[in-house]
């Protein structure tokens, strides 16, 4: 366990790591640009006449039209997923909970698939993203509404309702794929694989404010989330309005996850693994866990996207596949490790 001083150091370290990996990611690709040129281009736009400008042909355009929106969206998506994971785990009091548990990802997938299959384009190129967002939010509220009884929410009921909703969403997705043609199946499949290839400044402008607002609320909730670790009643005995805390946290999680997933498709395991790793290093206190998980999630997604688009030349690996390939085994390891140490979760 780290001291308060060292925990602040961890946050500082993550910020430095994130800045470094962003500059690196912006420079890699078909038009290589050195880190100093990336920094130079950024500083020139900020009105500072420092550092070299990109020397490559079309370098400036590649940076500002393709790479930067992609890297910034990766930061937003990663931070949203990491923060949402930390929030969910805190609310459920279970280190295995993640946004997928309440059905946000599955609901978003159904929304996106419905938009693809029906061919509606009421928002032009944004239709799929908007439908995914709506699907995620609506599903979360259905789960929450169904698992509430007498003004209270039993955690086990909530989790089991999430399981049922996820199964239903899976069936709807299958039905939609059955109804559509080959192109539709392809589009749905690719959306579910998750990718940042569609990143634009427009996507950044929508997901960014959602992420910032969500993060701010999450940080404000962190002290009360600590108390919730004692259990629902003891937290209330300490003055926490537990029902309100739970609703707020679930709305914020839905907002963060749905807005992230809407533009990129499903990127799994970031929300599960990142808070886990942070908790191992910095302990379970949410005041550090929430911001550190957001930063850690951003580092992971930016790095993952960098690997996804540069590992194979002229090809892009789906980011969601990459995170699942790494995340699945990591999850197994976490399970075994926790079981060996604490005798399971009881």
């Amino acid at each position: 366990m780290l001291t308060a001083y060292k925990k602040m150091g961890l946050i500082g370290l993550l910020i430095v790591a994130l800045a470094a990996v962003c500059v690196l990611a912006a420079g890699r690709g078909q038009v290589p640009i050195s880190p100093s040129e990336v920094a130079g281009s950024l500083l020139h736009r900020l009105g500072l006449d420092l550092g070299p400008m990109p020397s490559a042909v079309q370098g400036e355009n590649a940076l500002w039209l393709v790479r930067f929106p992609r890297v910034v969206l990766a930061v937003i998506v990663g931070a949203s997923l990491g923060c949402a994971g930390a929030l969910m785990q805190g609310v459920f009091g279970n280190p295995l909970a993640e946004p997928g548990v309440v059905g946000v990802s599955a609901g978003a997938a159904v929304g996106a698939a419905a938009a693809i299959v029906s061919g509606v384009t009421f928002l032009g190129g944004w239709t799929t993203a908007a439908a995914a967002f709506a699907g995620g939010i609506v599903t979360t509220f259905i789960v929450y509404g169904m698992s509430r009884a007498g003004g209270r929410t039993e955690v086990v009921t909530l989790v089991l309702t999430g399981v049922a909703v996820n199964a239903t969403a899976g069936a709807l997705l299958g039905l939609l794929m059955f109804l559509t043609d080959d192109d539709g199946v392809r589009a749905i499949a690719f959306w579910q694989l998750g990718s940042l290839a569609q990143a634009t400044w427009g996507a950044v402008a929508v997901a960014g404010p959602c992420a910032l607002a969500g993060l701010a609320v999450a940080v404000a909730l962190s002290r009360r989330l600590d108390l919730l670790a004692l259990g629902e009643r003891p937290a209330r005995h300490l003055g926490v309005d537990t029902e309100r805390l739970r609703i707020t946290a679930i709305v914020v999680t839905a907002l963060l996850t749905a807005s992230a997933v809407a533009f990129t498709g499903i990127i799994s395991f970031v929300g599960l693994i990142v808070p886990h790793l942070i908790r191992m290093v910095a302990g379970p206190g949410h005041r550090v866990l929430v911001p550190a998980s957001a930063l850690g999630g951003a580092v992971v997604v930016v790095t993952g996207d960098l690997i996804a688009r540069t590992a194979i030349e002229y090809q892009e690996l789906p980011l969601g596949v990459l995170t699942a390939v790494v995340g699945g085994p990591a999850f197994f390891w976490l399970l075994r490790r926790t079981r060996a140490r604490a005798g399971g979760w009881g």
Binding site: L227, A229, L230, V240, D241, A342
Partner: protein, 252 residues
């Protein structure tokens, strides 16, 4: 705290029916009775956890009129079982007891309250250890330290001695007595009737959700009443030195 005509229903069946109860500052009140008598349900209603019919007032105002945080500055509750979903350290857990005072002048006593609570429960030595790594009895004392650190004028303790060895049972009830001497009102659910007789000013004997008898243990704990309530022959003997009642089941 004062309760009048309090009834609690759980899952359609009545577990507490029209109980009257009161506790004043400086007093230790014990709730005793067999399993299923409604002790914990009654305590749950007093804590504001369970919905009830009838009236409960705290510091002169109805229990229902309080916001959670205002209530948390008036009363602290020790649950029967201490749980923790993440491996916080013992020090962090005890400090959680100070949460209701955050942002108030009393928060300048945070450090003091935490140190004192850990001293009296003999948990200072574990401060840096993760809570889940402690034994059951140690966890129970840490949970008590958290409740004491809250520094409220009313303490509700649900079986605080259940997981403890003989020495720590005495320790916990001495702490409750000391708090009462300083002006705190204490309601404690106990199974050990001799402990209740030794430490409580008054006792409520509950059976089937009703108060069967109420008063100082020396008057209330009679062989007849307890034999009837527990449906087992019980002998009550005065302690040869102090005269406090000793309650023992009659054995062959």
């Amino acid at each position: 705290m004062k309760a009048t005509g309090v009834s609690v229903s759980l899952g359609g069946s009545s577990v507490v029916s029209s109980v009257d109860l009161h506790v004043s500052p400086g007093e230790v009140v014990a709730l005793v009775g067999p399993n299923g008598a409604g002790k914990s349900s009654l305590l749950g209603a007093l804590a504001g956890d369970l919905s009830f019919t009838g009236d409960i007032s705290v510091s002169g105002a109805p229990l229902r009129s309080y916001k959670p945080v205002a209530l948390a500055r008036l009363r602290a509750v020790l649950p029967q079982k201490a749980a923790l979903s993440f491996p916080f350290t013992v020090g962090e857990v005890v400090r959680m007891g100070r949460a209701p005072w955050s942002g108030r002048p009393e928060s300048s006593d945070d450090e003091d309250a935490v140190v004192e609570a850990m001293e009296v429960t003999e948990t200072t030595g574990f401060a840096a250890r993760p809570f889940p790594a402690l034994s059951g009895g140690e966890q129970a004392r840490v949970a008590l330290a958290r409740v004491l650190a809250q520094r409220t004028p009313l303490l509700l303790l649900d079986e605080p001695t259940a997981a403890l060895d003989l020495r720590h049972q005495e320790l916990v009830l001495s702490v409750a007595r000391a708090r009462a001497a300083a002006g705190t009102a204490v309601i404690v659910v106990l199974h050990d009737l001799s402990l209740a007789a030794a430490y409580a000013d008054r006792a409520y004997v509950l059976a089937s959700g009703r108060v069967r008898s109420e008063g100082p243990p020396s008057q209330v704990f009679t062989s007849e009443l307890l034999s009837d309530v527990y449906q087992h022959d019980v002998e009550v003997l005065p302690h040869p030195r102090t005269g406090t009642p000793l309650v023992v089941p009659r054995r062959p």
